[in-house]
Symmetry: C2
C-alpha cells in the first residue's frame, strides 16, 4: 500500500502505464485473464495487444474515465494505461483503436450503449449487498412471450424469491423494474444484480418477498401501411411500451406466476429512460400501481407540480392516500440530474405531496447509483 501511495503522489492523479504491484485481476474478468487489474486504491490498469495500432484510447462510464484516456505502447505492441482511482461499481468501457470501438477480450460484454459493451466491476470496500453470498438464492427465469402489438417475441427476466416453488400456497407482490436507454432486459440482472440485492435483503429480513420483472423498455408497433416517404413510417422504438406493459406483460405475469394482482401489490421503478417511463406510466394509471420508483430520471422539462402528468398532483391528500410510495433518487456525481430530482422532490413537498428522496454519494449516471437505489427502494415496497 505504501508503494502504491508513493506512486500515486508521484503521478499526481494523472495516468500511468504500469499496474501497481499490489493490483489484482478484476472480479469481472473472463476466466483467468490477468487484466484489467485493480489496485487497492482503485486505480485500474488496462491492457490490449494491438501491434499494428498507432493510437489506442480507453472510453467508458464517467466514474471510470472522463472523456478518454490514451494508452501507451510498450514492448510487443502491448498497450497499457492505469486510470486515476475509479468510482466503485460497474462501468461500461471499450477501447478506441485508431478510431474504431473495440471491446476488451478479457471482459464479458453487457448490453449498453445500444451494443455489446465491455464491463468492469470495481469492488467497493466493505460493501457486499449486491454480491452472491451464502444465503438462499432466488431464480431469474427467462420467460418468452408473444407480443401481438409488436408482432415479436419478447423475453422477460423474472426474479422469483427463494423457495418460490416450495411455498406453493403463497402469492407475491410484483416490482416491474426498467433499464435505461441503450440497454435491455439483461441490464438489471447482469449489470444491476437485482437478484443478489433481493436475495441479500430477504435473507436479512429487510424486504418483503416479491417477484421482480425485468423486461425491455423498447417496443414499437410494426411499420404501418403508410407510404415509405411518410415520417410516421417507423414508430419510435419505445412508442408501444406502455401498451405492451399494460395489456400484454402484466396480464401474462399475473396469469403465469402466483402474484397478488392488484395495484396495492404492484410497483414500477426504472432508471434514466426507465425512470421517465415509470413516471409516465404509473402516474397515468394509478389504478394499476401504488408504488413508484424514479431513479436518475426526473421529468425532462422543468417540473411544474400543478400541470405535470396531467395534474395528477393537483389534490395532494387524494394522491397521498392513493400512492403508497413515490421514491426519487439520483447520484451526487450526476449533478444536473441530482439537482432536478431534488427540485422535484422539494416542489412536491411544498405542494403537500409525500415523496422519498435518496442520494447516492459520489456516484454518477452508472449502475452503482442504481444498485444502491434498488437496495434503498426494495425494503420500502409493499409495506403498509
Amino acid at each position: 500500500m505504501k508503494t502504491n501511495l508513493a506512486l500515486a503522489l508521484l503521478i499526481g492523479g494523472s495516468c500511468w502505464a504500469q499496474a501497481a504491484p499490489d493490483a489484482t485481476p478484476a472480479p469481472s474478468n473472463v476466466g483467468s485473464a490477468e487484466y484489467p487489474q485493480i489496485a487497492p486504491d482503485l486505480r485500474v490498469t488496462f491492457r490490449l495487444k494491438a501491434p499494428n495500432a498507432t493510437k489506442v484510447q480507453l472510453r467508458g462510464g464517467a466514474g471510470l474515465v472522463k472523456d478518454s484516456i490514451d494508452l501507451a505502447r510498450g514492448d510487443g505492441g502491448i498497450w497499457t494505461v492505469t486510470t486515476p482511482p475509479a468510482v466503485p461499481g460497474f462501468h461500461y468501457y471499450w477501447f478506441v483503436v485508431d478510431g474504431l470501438n473495440v471491446n476488451d477480450p478479457s471482459s464479458y460484454t453487457y448490453f449498453g450503449w445500444g451494443r455489446e459493451t465491455s464491463g468492469l466491476d470495481v469492488p467497493e470496500q466493505g460493501v457486499d449487498f449486491y454480491e452472491a453470498k451464502d444465503v438462499p438464492h432466488g431464480e431469474v427465469r427467462a420467460r418468452w412471450y408473444r407480443s401481438t402489438l409488436t408482432g415479436k417475441w419478447r423475453r422477460a427476466n423474472v426474479y422469483t424469491p427463494p423457495d418460490y416453488d416450495k411455498h406453493s400456497g403463497t402469492r407475491y407482490p410484483v416490482l416491474y423494474l426498467q433499464h435505461g436507454a441503450g440497454e435491455n432486459e439483461r441490464g438489471w440482472v447482469e449489470q444491476g444484480r437485482a437478484n443478489f440485492i433481493l436475495d441479500n435483503l430477504l435473507a436479512a429480513g429487510k424486504a418483503r418477498p416479491m417477484i421482480v420483472v425485468v423486461d425491455t423498455g423498447y417496443a414499437a408497433r410494426p411499420a404501418g401501411a403508410a407510404p415509405p416517404t411518410s415520417s410516421t413510417r417507423t414508430p419510435g422504438p419505445t412508442s408501444a411500451f406502455e401498451e405492451v406493459m399494460l395489456s400484454e406483460l402484466i396480464p401474462m405475469i399475473d396469469s403465469t406466476y402466483r402474484t397478488l394482482a392488484d395495484r396495492e401489490h404492484r410497483a414500477m421503478a426504472g432508471l434514466s429512460m426507465g425512470s421517465m417511463q415509470t413516471l409516465q406510466i404509473t402516474l397515468k394509471h394509478l389504478d394499476q400501481f401504488a408504488w413508484i420508483g424514479a431513479m436518475s430520471g426526473p421529468p425532462r422539462q422543468g417540473f411544474d407540480v400543478k400541470t405535470a402528468y396531467d395534474g395528477v398532483f393537483g389534490d395532494a391528500s387524494a394522491f397521498n392516500q392513493k400512492v403508497k410510495l413515490l421514491w426519487l433518487g439520483a447520484g451526487t456525481a450526476e449533478e444536473q440530474i441530482h439537482k432536478n430530482t431534488l427540485a422535484m422532490h422539494e416542489a412536491l413537498a411544498k405542494a403537500g405531496i409525500k415523496s422519498a428522496f435518496f442520494s447516492s454519494q459520489g456516484t454518477d449516471h452508472e449502475w452503482q447509483t442504481w444498485c444502491r437505489s434498488l437496495h434503498d427502494l426494495a425494503p420500502r415496497l409493499f409495506r403498509n
Copy 2:
C-alpha cells in the same frame, strides 16, 4: 432472384463487396442494424466502418468462412464483403482489423472461443424446429449455487417444461447437456436454443417432458499450497468437473427441482469437449446414468472397444441391458470427427453393443450440427 443468380454466376463462387438487392438483415442483428444481410441464396454481406484501417478480414465458423476473407474498402471507410453461400445455422464470426480481433457492433455476442464473439443466425429454409413458435414455452432458470470444491459460485441454466409450476405433483427426468471448449452455460440456450427445441418437440408430442440442466463444463479446485514452481500449481480448467457434477450439481438439482432422481431418469449429453466429458463421466458411472449422448466428440485416441473406458463394453449383453441409449452423432462436413464417430458406432455394433448414429447433412463443427443432434436425441430419451 434472377439478378442474384446472375451476380453469382458473374463472380463464380468468390466474394463480392455488394449485398444482393434482395438480401435482408439477419434475424440475429441488434435492433434495427441493417448489416449483416443475408440473400435468398444464403450469401452473407458484412459491413464495418473503419476509416483508418488498412486491412480488414472476416473470420468465423467453418460453415460461414473458411480461414479468412478480405473485406474491400469503400466510400467513407466502409468495408464490405459478401461471402459465398453459407451453411444454415448459427455461426461465430469476427473481424480482424489490422491484426486485431474486433466484434461486429451490429450483432450480439455469444461466449465462444473463450471470449465474447459475434454471432450470426442464417435461417434454413423450411426449418423452424429451433425457432420461438406459438406453442407453450418452458422457462430457462438461472440457478446460482455455491461450489465448495472450486470455492466459486456457479450458475446453471435450468430448462423447466411448460406448466412445470402448474403440475405440482409431477416429477420429471433430467438431461444434463454440455457445451464445447471455449463456451459456457450460455451456449445451449443462446447459440443452441435448447429451450425452443424442447418446447417445439413437446408441443408436437414428440418428446417426454423433461428438465434440461446446462452448466459450465469448466471447474477446477483452487490452486493448492504447492510452491509456485510446481507444475501442479494450476489445475486444468476442467479437472474438477466430474466431481462437481456428481457431488454438487446433481444433488443440488435433485433437491431443488421435482426430478425423478434415479439413473433410469437421468441422461447426459454434450458436444465436442462436452461429448468427451459425457462419455468419460457416464461410462464410469453407469450407476448414475442410463442415457448417453455424444455429439461431435468421439474418443480422442483410436477407439478400441475392448479396452476403451476401462473395459465397460466388455460384456455386451450386460451393457445393453443397463444403458437405455448410447447416441452418437456428428456433421458430415466435420469429416474426421464424423469418420471417427461412425467408426466407434461400427466397432460397437461389431462387438454387439447397441448404439444410435446420427448424421447431420452438410454441417460442420458448429451449432447447427448440435441443434439437429438435440432435436434427434431428445425424442429418444426416457422411453422404455
